[in-house]
Amino acid sequence: MEQGASTTTRQAHYHVPQPMPWPIMGSTALFCMALGAVFVMNASSGGWVGLAFGVMLLLYMMFRWFGDLIRESEGGKYGGWEDLSFRWGMSWFIFSEVMFFAGFFGALFWARVMSVPDLASLEHNTYLWPGFTSHWPSAGPGFEEKFSPMGAWGIPAINTLLLLSSGVTVTIAHWALKEGKRAILNLFLFFTIVLGVLFLGLQVYEYAHAYSELNLKLSTGAYGSTFFMLTGFHGFHVTCGAIMLTVIFFRCLSGHFKPDHHFAFEGVAWYWHFVDVVWLGLFIFVYWL
């Protein structure tokens, strides 16, 4: 906690960047995405145009903004002081992501422990939902169709294996980076991306299986809602993580990063471990128990 105040290793100047147009472009993009999404969801024409424009503008903005940062980093603008800021920033960002998932896990626990048992309680059974019994997975008392829940020991177990292995490969890549063994670095970073993409492919297959054969949909009551929203947001985060890994993979191929100066690599690795840990929570509480 005391690094900021230490006098021993302190560099003289902190890099304070020049003005840039990317933030306002990002805000414009998000504004277009929001308006476009509202139009799409309310079946008004033209929403897709706004949404697509917003997404493209956001991607362009991120491309340029990160491009500036990479150029600055490779140009030697960042020392240990800036590096520490990045570490704090990434840590707190991941903490905020943890809290986002905590909200959805909270919804899952509420449905399983509170609302579904309560809907099967004596008074609800007498006056509102006769015959409804408490069980999980449940789509609630008002849900008529039959559905099958997703089992844990098929694809989800394979996916657990894939993600845990990818955590190992990214660690080997990091070790190789610190040892200066670039070939191993590139190879194991590539393995990590392949494992991530395999995970996503199986996830897509699992969703298709759920919709076509299990009659398990987003609209399948509390179980469908929590299942698809939790695994869906996780899958989205894995997608982002895989894109981030791909970016640093190409940076590694271009010879970026030094054994003692590679925060971008570590930040991505932290993020990858974070999606890994979230998956373990999902596997235990959504699929298994």
Binding site: G4, T7, R10, V16, Q18, S27, W92, S96, A111, G140
Partner: protein, 528 residues
Amino acid sequence: MSAVIDTHGHAHDHHGGYGGVMRWITTTNHKDIGTLYLWFSFIMFMVGGVMALAIRLELFSPGIQFFNPDLFNQFTTMHGLIMVFGAIMPAFVGFANWQIPMMIGAPDMAFARLNNWSFWLLPFAASLLVISFFTPGGAPGVGWTLYAPLTVQMGVGMDLTIFAVHLLGMSSILGSINIITTILNMRAPGMNLMRMPLFCWTWLITAYLLVAAMPVLAGAVTMSLTDRHFGTSFFNAAGGGDPVLYQHIFWFFGHPEVYIIALPAFGVVSQVIPAFSRKPLFGYASMVYATSAIAILSFIVWAHHMYTVGMPVQGQLFFMYATTLIAIPTGVKVFNWVATMWQGSLTFETPMLFAIGFLFLFTLGGFTGLVLSLVPIDIQLHDTYYVVAHFHYVMVAGALFAAFAGIYFWLPKWTGRMYDETLGKWHFWLTMIFFNITFFVQHFLGLAGMPRRIPDYPLMFESWNKVSSIGAFGFGLAQLLFLYVVLKAIRSGAKAPERPWEGADSLEWTHLPTPVPYHTFETPPVLK
């Protein structure tokens, strides 16, 4: 002074290549961004204030006078959202931007470009909120808490509001990460954590609360969105969900949010009272611990907003006891502020007046909070005007008064010009008197049973409602005087002396000239 001489030699016009309006849009300077936050906050304060006056206009007499109930509900909803997310929170982020780097001896915020984005998300989010009034069905009329299942029944405006909350949350999270990193990593050599001005401490803890609480709100409104459009059943009992789940998730965010608003106000007051008492803050360490204690407790008291929704009595007892515990650290703070003034060499310039006004009225709001924390009483008072009176004592007389104190306190430092002391005092007394005329009587209305968020009421409530409405319009007009005082100070105020307040002793007063140059502490100050 040597530490602050600007090495660029053109301190006041060094804007890095962009001029005119693009300077403000692209700026990475913490002072520019602080100014943007504060002006944005004031504009939103006016917008939300106009809605408040519309509410009070309708409530001037029983019966439906001006607005249909639907529009009335939209006003109460948007008034709350805009005042919380558009006015109060950005005001204190503005103070954080201006003050934290100067108070800890840093050249700027840790992430100067991200800082720009944190601000520039806000006008777009606010636009989404305002646009919702002009969509079919109008703005959401569900109350600022956006409770399910009402949210499912609303029109297009609800979707716009949900996305606005996403953008506001993103802005808060990015801003908070920036503030935490700045405080932890950018302090000048020798500026230990326990030497920081208390304002920095309160913001460090506030930022932590924001990073922890805002993503949960984002999750809650996302669930509302998918319940509305994608067939999920998070808040639908027929699907095994529960509307009460929304309330739990919302208030898990919502109660920390109360301290997100209050703690920076405590920080400002903790700078102002010592300065005008010409004494160091009494019990600095205990203030830090009390602030931390409030932050921890804020995450385990949320269900005191929900005593009446149906909860096991053990739950009610737990949340009641936890809530009453908060009175202890808050009491420590009030005690310390009073003890700071004890035997001080007091003067009563406008910042000090607002700080003392804060001290009296916030304490009163704290006491009514204690009353409401007690389950048997709360069940009587839930959703009455007593609650409205309580949280306006905390939000307006607490947070807003502290923001006014901060503006009068630091304006000379920022602009190099003094405000008109006589007009400042007028602003304070008008604000103080009209605030109490508006809100004190609402305690009576609530105790007599007048429900909140209803455009009509029985005849027996008429007289106090008239008093409250008159007070509200007086309060609103007094804020135009505030705008005039600030503009007059900026345009033609007398030149401020180097140390306008001789009792103020944090770095911006002792180590920087008045007005402060555009870039400060590019080389860290030397601290004894």
